[in-house]
């Protein structure tokens, strides 16, 4: 095994270690003997021996054949040949990646601080890990970075965008022009050799920059030392599309380097949210190499952690999941096949609302109540039943999944505690990113219980978790109501409650209000304590909203929908779900407008004050509509990003997305289902379809965009913000029509109007209030 390390001075070293991975074969003794003979006959350099390992579901130790492969390069090939030759046998541990297996065997992990004893050949004699994946504070090695990207807007070059190559190193930025390919390659080669980066960060490096540069390097015979290890080329994986949960997903190509890392910012899973700090944290916890961690989902991460737990316990990791669902009647299916519990929100505006959330509810249920594939429906604990569905849960043996997630939950709680106690700053941000990475791991660990490809998934365990979750939420609701609180909304693991008394309304600055606030918080403390005690799952106060608006469905304004709301916490922080700002297909211009409006509304201390801010919101809407109509909006802010759900030619209706995709196809771009397309609406109702929308990459900025269509999108975003204040879409359109236009705008007295002058404007809000009593 080749192991790259960075010493405390920042120098990279290539070390070698002797490592013999093994897989296991299960079957009756005669079959295993036949396997041993087969291996000998093939002449492979393997060592086969009888041993015992634990089978997950039964918990019993079973006899298996251990096959150790001395040549690492042959491990996968031997495993594939054997499984093809003897397909009916049971196989274990055969498709765990070799770097992971190495980490398991050495009890090490990526980015761990280690002490090595080496011989003169740089071969590892001893490896001692002086670090723990559960350490809250740890030092990362000093990494030399290089950024390689195309100059200008971050537009997908696979769709035709071209610009000079930009190389950034510490303190210097070089622009390399492609007019002279030889000079470009030689300069890049020199930069790579001179700076010898540990990490190369690119934009579209996986799918475009590295493949093109390597192609040029071959053509002009100028080697590019992307790898530190000169004996091998970068590892290329082609792109592909696949179906997942009824949706098509496009996985772009990848270029993995040896001896240094390559991270493509446009092919890195969730790094917008948790950044490199989070990715490094996941690599440390999951024992997956960094380059793979950034290119795979957190589900793969949690699966790797479960495999590591199994490895530690001597539990066999099945190659294929074979355990089907136990027989159940149709009636049992109705009882058990449910998700989380939701109480639809009470529509409209509410003041002084507390949101309380169970802390990592589903993972906590798994950890505290021992829900795991092998503990569900055990025969030994018939008295320990899951509410509502009646499955038994074992109390005698600790589940593999709970054992995996428990320390992760603990670590996240510790980080969250530190974040709460620390002032803003870089250290706090590091903790925030790490705990965010934990959040994603924990979110997926529940889904993986029911996921078809999860090694340790089982549908009954998935059902048990949701059944416990429903029970917890129900109990929380009952406890809140028994304490005189009104439950406005409950959604799987969160409850929104309001006090009947309102200590935090008119004069917030007065001493009475402050003591009222303390009393409210202590009331909530008691509530949280009681819920935690009864359910055994910790629950915490997410925050107290000055006001929160539960928004109606877009189809029916009288109907409330879960997870569509806007609220402002006591500290002024805005929280919103299910609105335009949160959607990935909303143009940046509309996002900016809606955010500006929300920031204005966030200054309101009460619902009464909120209503007085409507004119300011309209003013903002008018200004944005003006900018659109006068052509002042930079076209980059109008781009709409949508995902292709099928092959572009398979679209029977010419939607704007299909039109843009077909234009790209026509210009020679290859597109796959699941890929994202960016376009600008040029004239939605143009007679010629091709005039309706243009791919972003083809849009030069000189041709007009469809201002009225963008105004329509803007007004929809305004409506979302104002509808809880009783303002409907037609009213907004009228005001914006009145309010736009330079001359009128200057004299407009919109802002001076009092709330009362808006007439029936707030009827909706008042109605909503009455309904909540």
């Amino acid at each position: 095994m080749i192991v790259w390390v960075i010493d405390t001075e920042g120098r990279a070293h290539c070390l070698r270690d002797t490592f013999t991975p093994a897989f296991f074969v299960g079957g009756d003794p005669a079959e295993l003997l036949a396997v041993a003979h087969f291996l000998i006959d093939q002449g492979w350099s393997v060592k086969a021996s009888r041993t015992k390992r634990t089978e997950l579901f039964s918990g019993h130790s079973i006899g298996v054949l251990q096959v150790e492969v001395t040549n690492l390069n042959l491990f996968t090939i031997i495993f594939e040949r054997l499984t093809s030759a003897k397909p009916r046998l049971s196989y274990y541990n055969g498709d765990i990646s070799l770097p992971q297996m190495y980490f398991f065997a050495r009890n090490a992990f990526p980015l761990a601080f280690c002490h090595f004893v080496l011989n003169g050949d740089n071969r590892i004699l001893t490896l001692e890990v002086d670090d723990s994946p559960w350490a809250l504070d740890y030092k990362l090695p000093p990494l030399k970075r290089m950024v390689i990207r195309l100059e200008g807007d971050a537009i997908n070059p696979n769709h035709g965008y071209r610009a000079p190559l930009v190389v950034e190193t510490e303190g210097a930025t070089r622009e390399l022009n492609g007019d002279d390919p030889r000079a470009l390659l030689e300069t890049l080669r020199d930069l790579l050799m001179r700076h010898d980066p540990d990490l190369i960060v690119t934009d579209w490096g996986d799918s475009f920059i590295l493949p093109r540069l390597l192609q040029m390097s071959k053509k002009y015979n100028i080697p590019l030392p992307f790898n530190r290890d000169p004996s091998r080329p970068p590892q290329f994986r082609p792109p592909h599309s696949y179906f997942s949960y009824g949706r098509i997903v496009y996985k772009t190509a990848s270029q993995v380097l040896f001896g240094r890392w390559h991270i493509d910012r446009h092919n890195a899973f969730l790094t917008d949210d948790y950044g490199l700090e989070g990715a490094f944290e996941i690599a440390r916890l999951t024992q997956i190499p960094v380059q793979r961690v950034v290119r795979t989902s957190t589900g793969t991460g949690i699966s790797a952690m479960e495999i590591a737990t199994a490895y530690r316990r001597g539990v066999l990791v099945p190659w294929h999941k074979q355990e089907p669902e136990a027989w159940k009647s149709g009636l049992d299916l109705v009882r058990s096949d449910k998700g989380g519990l939701v109480y639809q929100p009470v529509l409209g505006l509410h003041e002084d609302v507390a949101e309380i959330d169970f802390v990592s509810m589903y993972p906590s249920i798994m950890a505290r109540l021992n829900v795991s594939p092998e503990t569900v429906n055990c025969k030994c604990c018939p008295d320990n039943r899951v509410p509502e569905i009646g499955y038994s849960i074992c109390k005698k043996r600790r589940g593999l999944v709970p054992e995996t997630v428990e320390p992760l939950i603990r670590k996240r709680v510790e980080y969250k505690k530190r974040i709460r106690e620390m002032p803003d700053g870089p250290e706090r941000e590091v903790y925030r990113r790490r705990q965010s990475a934990h959040k994603w791991l924990l979110v997926t660990c529940f889904g993986y219980l029911g996921y078809k490809n999860a090694r340790f998934g089982r549908i009954e365990a998935h059902e048990a978790v949701t059944a416990y979750g429903r029970e917890c939420l129900l109990r929380a609701k009952e406890i809140a109501e028994s304490r005189g609180l009104r439950v406005l909304h409950a959604n799987v693991d969160s409850v929104w409650v309001a006090q009947d008394r309102r200590p935090l309304t008119a004069d917030r600055d007065g001493s009475a209000a402050v003591s009222g606030q303390r009393s409210v918080v202590s009331d909530y403390d008691a509530l949280l304590e009681e819920i935690t005690q009864v359910t055994r799952i910790p629950i915490a106060l997410e925050g107290i909203y000055r006001w929160v608006a539960f928004l109606p469905s877009r189809q029916d304004e009288k109907m409330s929908v879960a997870n569509r709301y806007i609220g402002v916490f006591e500290e002024g922080e805005i929280k919103m779900r299910g609105i335009e700002t949160r959607r990935r297909d909303t143009p940046p211009f509309v996002v900016a407008a809606q955010m500006e409006m929300l920031q204005v509304l966030a200054s309101a201390e009460s619902c009464k004050e909120l209503k007085t801010l409507v004119p300011r919101v309209i003013e903002i809407a008018c200004a944005y509509a003006d900018a659109l109509r006068s052509g002042q909006v930079p076209y980059q802010n109008l781009v709409i990003t949508k995902r292709l759900s099928r092959d572009p030619m398979a679209y029977s209706k010419d939607t704007l997305l299909a039109i843009a995709a077909k234009e790209l196809l026509g210009s020679g771009v290859e597109l796959s289902p699941g890929e994202s397309i960016q376009y600008i609406i040029t004239e939605e109702h143009a007679h010629a379809k091709i005039d309706r929308a243009r791919p972003f990459v083809h849009y030069r900025g000189q041709e007009p965009y469809d201002a009225e269509k963008y105004v329509e999108l803007l007004l929809r975003a305004v409506e979302t913000v104002l509808i809880p204040l009783g303002v409907d879409g037609s009213q907004i359109a009228e005001w914006v029509k009145e309010g736009t236009g330079e001359a009128e705008r200057a004299q407009r007295d919109l802002a001076k109007k009092t709330v009362e002058s808006w007439g029936p404007l707030f009827e909706f809000a008042e109605r909503a209030k009455v309904a909540t009593r």
Binding site: W327, S329, K452
Partner: protein
């Protein structure tokens, strides 16, 4: 269009029924079609074993159907035994080992394999492996049929891009005595939305004698049910044919 009714006849538990394995394939909503047969069997106080490869068994639809026939939904649902498979290895295990152990060895059982090939169309599974497993599964179903069990299989065709997996459907076809293709009719302009969203629900018309069968859609079903048409259709269910 009467063909699928011949396939559903496999569920008739009569000694003279020559069909032991029937296969319905095509792009219609075959699960819904099969559920009519399944509910009818359950309504006749017989147990049905359902193996679901597409997580498509709709208990609420079964309940509505039972209620429409004047049966208590709880009773009908409790007579249906179900297991879902999410990988082809689970489906294979279910058919080759678990099913035989669950059904009574001496009595003939009614078995419905819904979306049987769905998990075998997973492109993560090597085609050679999928072929091997389907052969094993087909052989095992053949054994079960020889022991007097009646088996209805539904399977859709592989989607574009996985056409090489058509061989799996061919293997199943070879193992069944009755094979019929059922496609959803091209939707009319008014029915288009309904058709694309909810797909084919069931056959109506002269269901009793198996002629002049036409398709209706979910929304039509609700309307027809209100008008009493459905009750008329199923009034003759005692005759043993749907």
């Amino acid at each position: 269009m009467q063909s699928h009714t011949r396939c559903l006849r496999v569920l008739d538990d009569s000694a003279y029924n020559p069909i032991q394995i029937a296969l319905l394939f095509g792009n219609a909503d075959l699960t819904r079609l099969a559920l009519f047969g399944i509910v009818r069997v359950a309504a006749e106080q017989r147990a049905v074993w359902v193996l679901d490869g597409g997580n498509s068994f709709d208990a609420y639809f079964v309940a509505r159907l039972a209620r429409g026939w004047g049966m208590a939904p709880e009773v009908v649902l409790s007579r249906i035994q179900l297991s879902r498979a999410f990988t082809c290895y689970q489906m294979s295990e279910l058919i080759t080992r678990r099913l035989g152990a669950a059904i009574h060895p001496s009595a003939s059982a009614t078995i419905a394999c819904l979306d049987l090939l769905e998990t075998f169309y997973d492109d993560d599974v090597a085609l050679a492996d999928a072929i091997r497993l389907v052969r094993t599964v087909a052989a095992r179903l053949g054994d079960l049929a020889k022991r007097g069990n009646h088996i209805l299989i539904t399977a859709r065709e592989p989607r574009a891009g996985l056409r090489e997996r058509m061989v799996l459907l061919d293997l199943l076809k070879a193992s069944a005595q009755q094979v019929e293709r059922v496609d959803a009719p091209a939707p009319t302009s008014t029915a288009r939305t309904v058709a694309t969203q909810r797909q084919l629900v069931f056959a109506r018309g002269d269901l009793v004698n198996g002629t002049n069968v036409t398709f209706v859609y979910a929304s039509d079903f609700e309307r027809a049910n209100r008008a009493g048409e459905i009750q008329a259709c199923f009034a003759a269910r005692g005759s043993g044919s749907v």
